[in-house]
Symmetry: C2
Subunit: 342 residues, 2 copies
Amino acid sequence: MSGYTIKDIAKECGVGVSTVSRALNNHPDINKETKKRIMEVVEARKFSPSTTARDLKRIRSNTIAVLVKGLDNPLFHKMMDIFQLEIESKKYDFVFQRVGAKDDEISVALDMIKERKLKGIIFLGGNFTHSEEQLETISVPFVLATISPGKNVNTDIYSSVSVDDVKESYKITDYLCSIGHKRIAILLPDNGDESVGSLRLEGYKQALSKHGITVEEQLIRYSVDEGDSFSMENGYKLMRQLLSEDIYFTGVFAASDKIAVGAMKALLEAGKKIPEDVSVCGFDGLDIARYYHPTITTIVQPIDDMAGRVITQLFSLIEETEANSQITFEGKLLVGESTGPV
Amino acid sequence: MSGYTIKDIAKECGVGVSTVSRALNNHPDINKETKKRIMEVVEARKFSPSTTARDLKRIRSNTIAVLVKGLDNPLFHKMMDIFQLEIESKKYDFVFQRVGAKDDEISVALDMIKERKLKGIIFLGGNFTHSEEQLETISVPFVLATISPGKNVNTDIYSSVSVDDVKESYKITDYLCSIGHKRIAILLPDNGDESVGSLRLEGYKQALSKHGITVEEQLIRYSVDEGDSFSMENGYKLMRQLLSEDIYFTGVFAASDKIAVGAMKALLEAGKKIPEDVSVCGFDGLDIARYYHPTITTIVQPIDDMAGRVITQLFSLIEETEANSQITFEGKLLVGESTGPV
DNA sequence: TTGTATGCGTTATCAA
DNA sequence: TTGATAACGCATACAA
């Protein structure tokens, strides 16, 4: 862990610094013998070049950044493991950047592109409500993971890998309807126009409409709290409120498993039986859905496959073998113990 | 978002680059007027100096790094929010680095110190089983958060903020004993000698011994899986195994809330009643402990206070107003619905 | 108080 | 295939 520089190595090997640089970067124009000799010294001295200096000089680095918004989403942890593994196995550098809930991921990205001369970016999570102009300022290949911008954005200028939130919400709401539920509350993280929440609301409405059920505003609930709006706490509060208002409902669609957990706790506390009195379902397919008691009916997002596809897509873009595309994965309806016929 | 450099700004202002640099860094030897003029241009052009170039040049940066091991621990998320907030409010730069489960946090730290000329480091999580020699290689102030090295390490050379795992485990095991449990299983993440798991085991043993209960090896269970050993899945598997062996027990101490959740699911699935047949408790005080059904008896770690103290301590070290110290917080026994008298 | 010049460690350019 | 040298963008010693 050293103050060694490329200069020291050059001196020790009796060659010029540029030759060492060439050896380090697998440059073609170098004698195999000298390269070997240099690399031996590099190993011996445990020398590793300063990425800081590299980034300063290089036109383009070998670094791929993952910008994640909403670290507390367990879905993302597994995906990040896969990202890191895949990226490093392809001999790229991996850097991970947290984006605060209030921060703008695009300006963070722009900053990093400039600083680190990024080769590619993965945006993981966030409400990607950016305009075309903003997206176009990103000058390197990027893939949006688990998210997708509004439908009015030109599909040529971005890549994304996600489930179709509208469709999957439709699927699970449809399931509730199909087992006889007519009065279904929906618990949403926020009332943003372009958030995942709004997409899931849309699917919910479509399903109700298909079954000839009128959408009732009083059954649509938004978290009002600051902070993590997908939290159990929010689910709990929303359900308490709902119960206190004495509104009749037999089913609940929570926009995430965590919200579902909080809601179920409120129901159970209130002496309701799940699913006999109220059926509840969530969204995401987190571990907790399988380990809660009762297990939670949910939409499982195929995150392993999605993560893999994100990587494939990003490298296709980098290697220019493929153009931008939007990839949609199918979620799986996992029926648990939390739902049943009316 | 720019290719602007300090040079461009200098030219535009009709001053030298060093004057701009002085303005940017709040250097004292500068005319207020010129500084103001420069800063206006800086604002107007949205210029921000390249940290890459800065890091290369500077002896010491203004950056504090948080190295996190075990991102999937929800405790850490809240702490990280606090870290970021506090660090940035003190006008330091904040950088967040993920450390893989198999990676050595010290070498990661050493790397970053060299590259980023770090001013301080916070180590969050991990099994800090490092020797004095290793700790001493860290040349900048650092604080270990939620962890503490082995007792045989000289306390002068490191700072830490954590709960006393032995004591807290003792506390909760003692509670189980005090309500009549004599046959208490313990579910541990791993059998590492210096891990938190081993500390929690130690507290468990001490409590049993105080109550005159013999420690039985067959009631001590270690996760064997790769990956996240604190997972619900591990808890589930351990409990299934335990149940299949037909060993008699009335209490379970899981070394984390997540393990407890998995274990409880296995118990409930097997038709056991909690707490009538088996009492279960966890450790950490995660949200899920309050929202599981039944709620889980656990040790709540005062993470907000701990996070704040970590920051205070780190800045004391940086400003050299205080020497290294080990700070221990008291956990709170939160009795839930998952435990009861035999 | 300000500007000029040098160097941080590396890669890129060019000539050898 | 190599080596000297000029950048990269900035901070700083030194000169003005």
